[in-house]
């Protein structure tokens, strides 16, 4: 199947305001908030061709396309979403939304608290995947979408898609669960905790209220991101990409950058610290840690997924050690126990967890085939 794939082109973020209070899992009530989102493609007359794309830890509503005047800032899933791409914007109406607590325009710790006129900072409530899904459902209402053709995402985004099928079974026809886990392992939580400690122990963190000080806990953010990056890649991919050649050919016996991987991690850390909010990072990682739908059912994931009515595509990547294929198979197993409609593909890739963001022939062939099926169910 050859199709000419292109970009959705120039896109515009939009903002939706909500003044119906949102009760969060923590018990805190958000009296009002805003969500920033982008849409691509056209919602058909029957309003049955909408796909919600949920973002992962550091993503945003900017899924595809570019902003006018900024030709570098292409969306984070540009290879997946666009005309002629697996999530074909000529057939689907695609929505990307920045999660609550984010730092790309939705209400979050760096937003001004209307009560104090100061950034929320440390006073911003902790959030859960459940809270995000609740707020996304309100955005769907706002856009007049009662049922999604699909809700999809990778990693933390996949957890939101999974939660959608539990919380709003009648609103999701298909769930695409990519590089996911039904909950974090102790090792996963451990990595998150080291990242959080890096941030909170930065002297520029000021207990989360660093905005007033005019500083950013940059060092902490950098470390957090460097650590994250190591866990997103496979040992193999890292070795292939960076090797262990000394930059100067011989040891310098100094702490300057000597290996490619050091340079790469420092660069990624720096870039991230310039664009991401430290409090958002803390909130997002905590949401990851808390996610565990089977907690309510005594550890029985099948029972937790019992309400789901969606059809599922579960996808994992062979070298993903952050969320290994075995974790995806736990989800599949629970769905099989429930006699749910589910397909599962285990994609051969050496890219580790990051594979879900990369172009890979087998991966994209599966996505094309499955989304083609979904498109066939939506009438123009």
């Amino acid at each position: 199947m050859t199709r000419t794939a292109s970009s959705v082109g120039i896109v515009f973020p939009q903002v939706a305001y909500f003044d119906v209070p949102l009760r969060l899992s923590s018990g805190t009530v958000l009296p009002h908030y805003q969500l920033v989102y982008e849409t691509y493609g056209v919602l058909n007359e029957r309003k049955d061709n909408a796909i919600l794309v949920c973002h992962a830890l550091s993503g945003s509503h900017h899924v595809a396309g570019q902003y006018a005047g900024d030709l570098h800032g292409v969306g984070w899933w540009e290879n997946m979403v666009g005309p002629g791409k697996p999530v074909d914007t000529e057939r689907f109406f695609v929505i990307g939304v920045n999660n609550l607590g984010g730092c790309h325009g939705s209400t979050g710790p760096s937003s001004l608290n209307p009560v104090t006129g100061q950034p929320y900072g440390a006073s911003f409530p902790f959030l859960t995947v459940e809270d995000w899904v609740e707020s996304q459902a309100r955005l769907a209402d706002h856009l007049g979408i009662s049922t999604f053709a699909a809700v999809m995402g990778g990693s933390l985004g996949a957890m939101q898609a999974l939660q959608w099928t539990i919380r709003f079974p009648e609103r999701v026809r298909h769930a695409l669960i990519i590089a996911a886990a039904p909950c974090l392992s102790a090792q996963n939580i451990g990595f998150n905790e080291v990242a959080r400690q890096a941030i909170t122990s930065d002297p520029h963190f000021y207990g989360g209220d660093f905005y007033a000080q005019g500083v950013v806990p940059e060092r902490g953010l950098r470390l957090a991101r460097m650590l994250g990056h190591i866990t997103y890649l496979s040992d193999d991919a890292m070795m292939t990409k960076f090797g262990r050649e000394l930059i100067g050919g011989a040891p310098h016996f100094s702490l300057e950058v000597e290996f490619e991987i050091e340079s790469y991690l420092r660069y990624q850390g720096k870039k991230f610290s310039e664009r991401f909010d430290a409090n958002t990072y803390l909130i997002m990682t905590k949401a990851l840690d808390y996610f565990d739908p089977a907690r309510a059912t005594g550890g029985d994931l099948a029972q937790a997924l019992q309400p789901a009515r969606a059809q599922f595509l579960v996808l994992s990547f062979t070298t993903d050690w952050r969320f290994s294929p075995a974790r995806s198979r736990e989800i599949v197993q629970a769905l099989l126990d429930n006699r749910a409609v589910v397909s599962y593909a285990e994609i051969d890739s050496n890219q580790g967890h990051d594979a879900f963001l990369m172009e890979n022939e087998d991966y994209f062939a599966v996505m094309f085939a499955y989304l083609e099926r979904i498109a066939g169910e939506c009438r123009p």
Binding site: V332, V342, S343, D362, F368
Partner: protein, 195 residues
């Protein structure tokens, strides 16, 4: 194109039943059964291109290695488990037979009959047999455990498996009643655990 054994298999599968198709390939059989028997269930396939083809057919497919068993499925969770021209390509033949009858109440197995006279003739003439049902060269065949009707029935007897129905066909798709192990090229068995 509908493969010769598909019609036979469809006759052995009840309407609205739950089916597991082991080694479902491009999903054609399962799609056919969904159409004519309204079955639900899954196909299992390991080859990536076949998984994609099965998704295109609109069937649910699980990319799992059959050789690792069916531990993901609980006992008797399917009405029928199908092994359509896959048995001969399996390494752990006995194990998959046991597994399919643990997971399903009944099994359907089809395979090319190595005892078919044309196959025997080719061996007599000193070459490995090739035919419509065994189209591979000896050096690139996926088939590692070819057998005759007698061989398969002996395995069933030894494994406590009861043959409920046997149909044997010749290459033109006609049922063979006379000397099936010699004149039949394709075997179809409906089986279950004895007792």
């Amino acid at each position: 194109m509908i493969r010769a054994d598909y019609e036979l298999i469809a006759q052995g599968v009840s309407v609205d039943s739950r089916v597991l198709d082991l080694g479902c390939g491009d999903g054609q059989l399962l799609a056919h059964l969904q159409r004519v028997r309204r079955v639900s269930g899954y196909g299992i396939e390991i080859i990536p291109e076949q998984v994609v083809a099965a998704l295109r057919q609109g069937v649910s497919v699980l990319q799992v290695n059959l050789e690792e068993g069916l531990s993901g499925f609980s006992d008797h969770s399917f009405d029928t488990v199908i092994l359509s021209q896959t048995l001969q390509a399996m390494r752990h033949t006995e194990e998959i037979l046991r597994e399919m009858l643990r997971v399903g109440r009944e099994g359907i197995v089809t395979f090319p009959n190595f005892g078919y006279w044309k196959h025997r003739w080719q061996v007599l003439n000193g070459t490995m047999p090739k035919s419509v049902d065994m189209p591979y060269e000896w050096y690139d065949t996926p088939n590692v455990h070819l057998c005759t009707l007698h061989d398969f029935e002996a395995l069933c007897a030894r494994s406590g498996v009861q043959v409920m129905e046997r149909r044997v066909m010749n290459p033109s798709g006609h049922t063979v009643e006379l000397m099936p192990n010699l004149l039949g090229s394709l075997a179809y068995y409906r089986i279950r655990f004895r007792g």
